[in-house]
């Protein structure tokens, strides 16, 4: 397979290089134009920002139209049979806390639709990884989302991530509605994925799998609503490390040999505050008319670097410092390869300074906010400059101001003490000043925390807040977890608290983990919401947006979709002292020997009236009488 791919990539490189020249010339000119416009924009900005925004919009659109056209020509002329496509991008966002958020996204499009009749067998792979393609076809997967996260996304400091994920591993899969044995498929699929990603996904079984009725809808094509074909599971304890990163990198067409993936050196990626890698596979439309389907594979990797621990006090950042690598080329197989830097908070360059500066600007509406980005196109030679290497440098000048509070935020904790009962508190904040909006809260609690659902309370602003929809599936001991889904209306600028009491079960002694005193994990609860947007969201799909802004389909302009994960819980269960069996055996043996022995003796013995033993003299006399044969004394 590797040889096959090598050969393919050589062909592709040849084709690309022949095509790259004219288009790059185009963009070069365009870039010059852009510098001019940018200057104008900055001038305009001092007067009125509205005009500036309009200009930006135009500029952004025009660049993209350019890309579209070049794509079109490619497809039309040489790529007619092989329409697979690969895009890569890196978004760097300097956060208000001083940290740096780097988000990689790689998108591979595969123009095939093996779920259609007659096309079951696909044996030819170009850019799409064969290992995943086979999994998709074998298990009739409609949509697959898997994420491995080490750390917790700090919404209050960092804002919303592009694609959220809970700590540990998360896997949710929509199966095709022709599948008859969903549970069987799911079981096998988790085991196969466990092998592919070198993770302990094989620990997913019926005791931690749920079928959410509303929280997880398909993100791709298809209006599947029957949640019988959905499976969702998390492993909050999963530890993510290099061994998970390596197989993930191998799914990329260029591997980690070229393109943005060069930066992924695990030594640096795991020297960070947050690390999350994910794979999302879904069917999407091949073109605007949506006449045929294509598979989209998105691989995302999100890292947050901490300026305290690695910067040694110096607030200065460069690609080299972050990743101990610089970029020298785009992935030759990529149709687009870009680096975006979020400069929304830095319109005049007073907050930080970027070098090399770029003339290209782009605007996108992400998570209800219009953001401006500097764009570095890696497919163009001048990005790399004289040294043939691209090392983005970010130098902080001033202290960043306070961040706007994220509109939706949630946290969770266990209240109470002792090992018998407890209470799970989930607190959801709506920080919108005047809009109320509904959220879907999903909780999946393992069976060994026995929820008392009658104690469920939802309060906002110290008043009872009745959920308009509750889906509760009670747990079955050792078979399935609790599933609680609720639709709660959050009043504006409020804190909503959901509490439910539980009792800790006493496990069988073989059911304890090898480190029972560490505690048992309860996965994050999931809050999904359509949050009112401050700016109009663009609902236009066909536009070739940057990858980070186009993951979740936007249905209406006034709101955007957000998913927030709370922290997982660590709960202590009553744990026996495991050196105890020895003591217990000793004790039981003693009790049985002493207690049972004497009781048995007492119960089985026949009692007779004991004649008092005659005194010694009488006994002696009787002895003599017996010898003499005279009748004995009474």
């Amino acid at each position: 397979m590797a040889a096959h791919r090598c050969g393919l990539s050589v062909v592709c490189i040849l084709i690309f290089s022949s095509l790259a020249h004219p288009s790059s010339c185009d963009t070069l000119e365009k870039a010059n134009d852009n510098t001019a416009t940018k200057r104008r924009i900055s001038e305009v900005n001092t007067d009125g920002s509205v005009a500036g925004e309009d200009m930006n919009e135009r500029q952004w659109q025009s660049t993209d139209v350019e890309v579209n056209r070049s794509d079109g020509t490619k497809n039309g002329e040489t790529f007619a049979p092989a329409k697979d496509q690969f895009q890569e991008e890196l978004v760097i966002r300097p956060l208000h806390s001083g940290d740096i958020y780097a988000s990689f996204q790689f998108r591979t499009l595969w123009d095939t639709d093996f779920l259609q009749e007659g096309q079951k067998k696909v044996s030819h792979y170009r850019l799409f990884p064969k290992s995943l393609g086979q999994v998709l076809s074998k298990f009739s997967v409609q949509e697959l989302h898997i994420s491995f996260t080490q750390g917790f996304w700090r919404t209050m400091q960092w804002g919303q991530p592009f694609i959220p994920s809970p700590p540990g591993a998360e896997l949710w899969v929509w199966f095709h509605d022709t599948v008859s044995d969903v549970d069987g498929n799911w079981k096998e699929l988790t085991n196969v994925l466990s092998g592919i990603f070198c993770a302990s996904l094989n620990f997913i079984d019926m005791t931690n799998t749920v079928q959410p009725s509303a929280s997880f809808k398909p993100l791709g094509l298809g209006n599947a609503t029957d949640h019988r074909f959905l499976r969702y599971a998390t492993l909050p304890r999963e530890i993510v490390c290099t061994e998970n990163l390596t197989p993930w990198k191998k799914l990329l067409p260029c591997g980690s040999k070229a393109g943005l993936a060069v930066l992924m050196k695990s030594e640096k990626l795991f020297h960070s505050s947050f690390h999350s890698q994910a794979v999302h596979i879904r069917p999407i439309c091949q073109d605007e008319q949506c006449t045929s389907k294509a598979w989209e594979l998105r691989q995302t990797l999100n890292v947050v670097f901490d300026h305290y621990t690695s910067g040694q006090g110096k607030k200065e950042w460069s690609l080299f410092k972050m990743f101990s690598r610089t970029l020298t080329e785009a992935c030759p197989l990529a149709s687009s390869s870009k680096v975006y830097v979020d400069i929304t908070d830095n319109p005049e360059g007073e907050l930080f300074e970027l070098s090399p500066a770029t003339p290209l600007l782009s605007q996108a509406v992400v998570l209800g906010d219009r953001r401006t980005y500097s764009v570095y196109d890696l497919t163009r030679a001048e990005t790399f400059g004289q040294l043939r290497s691209f090392n983005l440098l970010l130098r902080w000048k001033g202290d960043s101001g306070d961040m706007l509070r994220p509109l939706l935020h949630a946290e969770r904790y266990v209240a109470g003490f002792g090992l018998q009962t407890g209470e799970i508190h989930t607190v959801i904040y709506n920080n919108h000043p005047y809009r109320a909006f509904p959220v879907l809260l999903m909780d999946s609690v393992p069976w060994y925390l026995q929820l008392y659902i009658h104690t469920l309370t939802v309060t906002s602003k110290s008043r009872d807040n009745k959920p308009s929809y509750i889906h509760y599936q009670p747990a079955k001991d050792r078979h399935r977890p609790h599933l609680l889904e609720m639709l709660i209306q959050l009043p504006p600028h409020s804190m909503t608290e959901v509490t439910v009491q539980f009792e800790r079960a006493l496990l069988k002694w073989t059911e304890y983990t090898p480190d029972p005193n560490h505690g048992f994990y309860v996965g994050s609860s999931v809050v999904s919401a359509l949050v009112p947007s401050m700016v109009a969201m663009s609902t236009n799909f066909t536009q070739d947006q940057p990858l980070f802004s186009s993951f979740v389909p936007v249905k209406e302009e006034s709101s955007y979709f957000v998913r927030v994960y709370t922290e997982p819980l660590l709960v202590n269960l009553p744990t026996p002292d495991f050196s105890m069996p020895y003591n217990v055996i000793c004790l039981t043996c003693t009790v049985v020997a002493v207690g049972y022995g004497s009781f048995y003796n007492l119960l089985t013995r026949t009692f007779q009236v004991d004649e008092p033993s005659p005194p010694l003299a009488k006994r002696l006399a009787n002895f003599i009488r017996r010898i003499r044969g005279v009748p004995l004394l009474a």
């Binding site: 400091q157 505690g519 202590n572």
Partner: protein, 604 residues
């Protein structure tokens, strides 16, 4: 085991026990005392060792070096504390934020049931400030806590300074696996109680507090820091917590290991370790250290800010800097390194501390007595009660004998004694206003003196009233009552000793001899005097004197009496504020039980 089933042998045993009952009891009592005192003898104790693998073998290199910064921060904190006249909340919030922590505050208020004269407080209002260092790539499930109190006056500034310096240093390290909470609590234990209740969202003592905004999962261990001077010569480890709970012994071992490693002089109960166990002085020293621990544990209060953590199953200890031994001086950086080492090892924990002992006594930091060794001392005392239960001359009657005494005979004194106990528990606090109106005393004095008065009144009450109710007492009547009382005392002391060995043992030592030998036929005046002198209240008084003697601050009788009164008021306050159980135990159970014996003495 033919012993029980063979009537002859059983009879022989019974005869032996009946005949030699008094001598056996005496021997048991003496053996218990000797056994207990022997626990401090070094060859009989075990050497401490680290049980937890995660903390034992891992290497930790301490690099903390900003001792000077800690001291300057302490000065700054002191200045701001003076300016604010209490917790300098704003300054502390800024200082913590500047060090890259997530900072939160919690305000609380508490009205004490009566004014606390030792600490001069009644209406308590304060703010706790805490900052959370989020561990990189950790999902907020586990946390460690380091606390320093914000105390009035000059004390504990250095602790806060060191806390901030440590926060700054820790923030720059990448190796944390657990979040670290740096807490500065106001009004010592009250603030700590408010914070812990807020963190666990419980309310067991009627505290008013604002809910906490930031949390970091389940707390695995906590260290409380008390430093009051720039120059420290030794560090004292305080383990005794609320209700006599102790943290896992591994925490003490960890402290000791790092003191050894860094060459820091360390003490426990303020007493240095000696190596001459084979001399009389060496033994006395160890015995004194152990006795101090027993007394501190028996009184059931929290001897440092750490003590309240133990209720929440969080292993915690206080480390107090002492400036007393001239020749050893160490700078703050050394203490910082010691704390760094301890926190890093705690950070390595994979499970909660559970490997080592939870029940132990420490004659020195390097030696310990485990529960298996000290329990026989109590067992020998409990056996006396059981021996007396079996053979108080109860040859020919049983409970079920229809001609025996009526239930009322026994029930009346039991009920009356317990009602007196309830009065002793409830009235002092509830009657304080009335008492203050009628007598020229302060509220605190009123509470304590009411308690003493009810206690004394109880001595006159029961034996008179029961006579009114059930007429003349019979010979069998007192025997049944004694049987009940002995069983009751045995159960009470047994349960107490299981939870708090020291309390159980101290009570047993004083209560057992007199209760075991009590009959109505003894000389009234003499036995009454003996009983009063061995009553629970006098036990407390003796403990006060012995404690003062042991900490080398002997007091005169007058001062001792004042201390005794303040101990009682502190006991009542500890119960109301933190839920200490010693006062209710004494008032509701031990004292009524003792009254039942008092009743037997005056049986007629």
């Amino acid at each position: 085991m033919g012993l029980l089933s063979d009537p002859n042998r059983r009879k022989a045993l019974t005869n032996l026990l009946t005949r030699l009952n008094a001598p056996i009891c005496m021997v048991c009592y003496l053996a218990a005392i000797v056994w207990f005192m022997g626990l401090a003898f070094e060859p009989f104790t075990l050497r401490t060792y680290m049980s937890e693998n995660a903390m034992g073998s891992t290497m930790v290199e301490e690099r903390f070096s900003s001792g000077e910064r800690a001291l300057s921060l302490a000065k700054e904190f002191d200045a701001h504390k003076r300016k604010a006249g209490g917790m300098p909340v704003e300054w502390l919030v800024k200082a913590m934020q500047a060090r890259g922590l997530e900072v939160f505050t919690q305000s609380f208020s508490r009205k004490l049931p009566f004014p606390d004269e030792n600490k001069e407080r009644y209406m308590v209002r304060g703010t706790n400030v805490y900052g959370i260092l989020r561990a990189p790539r950790a999902p907020r499930t586990e946390a460690l806590v380091i606390t320093a109190p914000c105390s009035p006056g000059n004390s504990d500034n250095q602790a806060v300074g060191l806390l901030l310096a440590l926060a700054q240093y820790f923030r720059n390290q990448i190796f944390w696996a657990k979040d670290i909470i740096f807490l500065v609590n106001e009004h010592d234990l009250i603030g700590m109680q408010a914070w812990l209740e807020g963190y666990h969202h419980t309310n067991i003592t009627g505290m008013e507090y604002s809910p906490l905004q930031g949390r970091a999962g389940s707390i695995q261990a906590a260290l409380s820091l008390e430093l009051s001077s720039d120059v420290i010569t030794s560090l004292d480890l305080i383990l005794e917590g609320l209700n006599g709970q102790l943290p896992n012994l591994d925490l003490a071992n960890l402290f000791y290991a790092f003191c050894q490693k860094l060459g820091v002089l360390c003490t426990i109960q303020g007493k240095l370790q000696r190596n001459d166990w084979d001399t009389a002085e060496g033994y006395t020293h160890a015995a004194q250290t152990m006795m101090l621990m027993v007394l501190k544990q028996a009184c059931g209060r929290s001897w440092g800010d750490h003590g309240l953590f133990l209720r929440y199953h969080i292993e915690a200890a206080s480390i107090r800097g002492i400036n007393g031994f001239r020749h050893y001086k160490m700078d703050v950086a050394t203490i910082g390194r010691l704390l760094e080492g301890m926190v890093r090892k705690l950070n390595n924990l994979l499970e909660r501390l559970h490997q080592s002992y939870f029940f132990y006594l420490l004659p020195s930091l390097s030696r310990f007595v485990s529960i298996g060794y000290y329990m026989p001392a109590f067992g020998l005392l409990a056996v006396i009660l059981l021996l007396r239960v079996s053979f108080p001359g109860l040859d020919h009657f049983t409970f079920f004998n229809p001609s025996g005494p009526g239930v009322l005979t026994v029930l009346t004194p039991v009920v009356i004694s317990h009602l007196t106990g309830v009065a002793l528990y409830l009235l002092p606090v509830h009657l304080q206003e009335m008492a203050v109106e009628h007598f020229p005393v302060s509220e605190t004095e009123a509470v304590v003196l009411t308690a003493v008065a009810i206690y004394t009144a109880g001595l006159a009450l029961p034996h008179n009233t029961q006579r009114l109710l059930s007429g003349e007492g019979t010979e069998q009547g007192w025997k049944v009552l004694k049987l009940t009382a002995l069983l009751y005392l045995a159960v009470l002391l047994g349960c107490t000793a299981l939870i708090n060995f020291s309390l159980g043992f101290v009570l047993a030592v004083t209560l057992v001899p007199i209760t075991a030998s009590m009959t109505p036929h003894m000389p009234k005046a003499l036995s009454a005097l003996a009983m009063v002198l061995l009553s629970p209240a006098f036990t407390i008084l003796y403990c006060v004197f012995i404690y003062q003697e042991l900490i080398e601050a002997p007091v005169s009788v007058g001062e001792g009496w004042m201390l005794f009164l303040s101990v009682i008021s502190q006991g009542i306050l500890d119960h109301a504020l933190y839920g200490s159980l010693v006062y209710p135990l004494l008032a509701l159970f031990i004292y009524p039980c003792w009254l039942m014996f008092w009743n037997i003495l005056f049986w007629s």
